[in-house]
């Protein structure tokens, strides 16, 4: 007696049948036959075990004495600075901040990467960044308030782990040949499976809601070998943001990047195929620990046409990022001019070809 198993055909997606007598799977819709070992492993229902543990330290007595919290009444951002800091503006929205009180409470950072590049370097980098771009509105260049650029220590959660994972891929090989009358294309399909371990060190996840995540990930990477144990002395002359995204809330982003790394790294070991497409991945995290660190970032927030534009420079490496507005009129004008020129050249070439 035959037993029917519910499995999807990798060719057409139909439910394949397993014939216990023949010990083979066969799709009743497209008649494709498979060995039992050839069926892709269903990785969708595997239970992942991801555990992260903190190494977080607490503030010692008197350690926060010289630090105050400043609040922005406009965007609600809270920054930390030493008590000697006078009136300043919010690095996220550019409005005035006011002292809220003595800093207290939150977890003490484990590490800090001190600023290596000063304000002058940051201003030069911003000028260079803008000067290399096209179609930047003139008013944006002139209205830019370079002096408002601020050094901010941005809170990050750093995740370190050994990831144990597996990933499956669907791969394709294409072979072509021909005879006197016909051209033949043979497409062979393969199910690929890889499992293994990868270690990750200090994957950063932005711990501030005020700091755009894409902006912070764009200034990566930071060199953590230059990090030092946190000391409030490093905050002198700079602003610091308190984390308002917890480590637990940051974990999904770290896991997402780890999972994609497993897919991408394992894929590099799949060789000899014309196409490789990921079908899924699973991972477990072992020895997962997270730390709290402050990363140095130079920030400039400026408004143009009622829209906020934030520029960030990695205070350690000098990598500068930030979206620059485009002058739509200039873009339209350039498109029309270039288009008319290309059109004229095309028409001229038509004439030339016709006359030749």
């Amino acid at each position: 007696m035959s037993t029917i198993l519910e499995q999807k055909c990798p060719n057409c997606g139909g439910a394949v049948e397993f014939n216990t007598g023949a010990q083979r799977l066969k799709c009743p819709y497209c008649d494709t036959e498979f060995d039992i070992t050839a069926m892709p492993e269903d990785t969708s229902n595997q239970v992942e075990q991801i555990n992260w543990n903190s190494q977080g330290a607490q503030w010692g007595a008197g350690e926060t004495d010289g630090m105050s919290v400043y609040a922005c009444n406009s965007c609600g951002g809270e920054i930390v600075a030493d008590t000697t800091t006078g009136a300043t503006t919010c690095p996220y929205c550019g409005n005035q901040v006011v002292m809220k009180g003595q800093f207290s409470g939150a977890l003490k950072p484990d590490l800090v990467i001190p600023f290596k590049l000063d304000k002058k370097a940051a201003k030069e980098a911003l000028k260079k960044h803008i000067s290399t771009k096209k179609f930047v509105p003139k008013s944006f260049l002139t209205d830019n308030r370079l002096e408002e650029i601020k050094g901010v220590y941005v809170p990050h959660w750093l995740f370190t782990c050994d990831a144990i994972g597996n990933a499956s891929y669907k791969a394709k090989k294409v072979k072509t040949w021909s005879d006197e009358n016909y051209e033949y294309t043979e497409t062979s399909y393969f199910d690929i499976y890889r499992s293994g371990n990868i270690g990750f060190d200090n994957i950063p996840v932005d711990g501030s809601t005020k700091m755009p995540d894409d902006l912070m990930e764009s200034v990566e990477p930071f060199d953590l070998s230059q990090a030092v144990d946190f000391n409030t002395a490093y905050l002198a002359g700079y602003l610091a943001d308190k984390y308002d995204v917890t480590a637990e809330e940051s974990m999904p982003r770290a896991n997402e990047r780890i999972r994609q790394s497993i897919i991408d790294s394992f894929k590099e070991t799949v060789k000899g195929y014309d196409e490789v497409e990921n079908q899924g991945a699973n991972m477990n995290v072992a020895n997962g620990i997270y730390k709290y660190a402050l990363y140095p970032v130079w920030l400039l927030n400026t408004k143009w046409n009622g829209e906020n534009f934030t520029f960030a420079m990695n205070g350690q490496t000098g990598k500068f990022v930030g979206n620059i507005p485009t002058d739509k009129k200039a873009v339209t004008k350039a498109s029309l001019l270039l288009g008319a020129g290309i059109g004229a050249v095309i028409y001229g070439l038509m004439w030339l070809i016709e006359l030749l």
Binding site: P10, N11, F34, T37, A38, K134, D162, S178, N181, Y182, E183, Y184, T185, E186, T187, S188, Y189, F190, D191, I192, Y193, S195, G196, N197, I198, G199, F200, D201, I203, P212, D214, L215, S218, E220, R257, Q260, S261, I263, D264, S265, F266, T269, V270, N323, I324, V331, A334, S335, L336, L338, G339, A340, I342, G343, A344, I346, Y347, W351, E354, L355
Partner: protein, 249 residues
Amino acid sequence: MTKKIFATLVAVIICFSAVISASAYTQEYVIDYADKLASSEIEELDLFAEKLESAYGVTVLFCITEGTGDVTADEFSSGTYGDYTDNENGIIIVHDDWNKTYFTFISGNAGEFLTDASVDSMIDAYDSNDSYYGGIYACYELAEEYLENGYSGGYVYDEEPLNNDTDTIGASEEKDGVSIIWLPVSLLIGLLVGFLIINGIASKNKSVKMQENATVYTRPGSMVITGSADNFLYNNVERREKPKQTEKK
């Protein structure tokens, strides 16, 4: 007084006679040394050639001989017409009926419209006609057609197959330019390409994006593959007929 009137009348008559005789003079365009043509035929063909000369300034001479003696057709023509062609725009076609050979000579601006290929086609038209008169007439008709086309700025017959259909010749004149309708089409294509290029440049103003993975944070040398399987599933073979090559006519 009567004598004066008579003398004047005689002078007028003499002058009128001279004008009449001068206008009655017709240059010989068709020279028939072989006596193949009737005088009326020669006269008719001369008139045709004269018409060509006056309309286009090109003289078309046709000579039929029964051999050229001890000289070649080339030497014969040079000897007979050499002086004539020096300062003329025209062509000479000499047909040695005895040896069945032809010699052609083109001088001046005539070569601009009556090319070697067009003269060959004129000789073919002459040769394929049953009568000498009909042949020369057909030859002149072609000459007229080529001259007319050439002078009107149209198609100059050169190496294309002979085609007497004037409509076809007229149609080929359209090759000399691109229709104006292609101008807006070209501009439209240009604008599309220009739009794509400029927007591609403008899009570089955006440098902020999320990272895709954490590969840069991979611990060096930490990746170990513990399980690996490459399983063949199935294959498909598609067969497609090769496109047939069109046979040349």
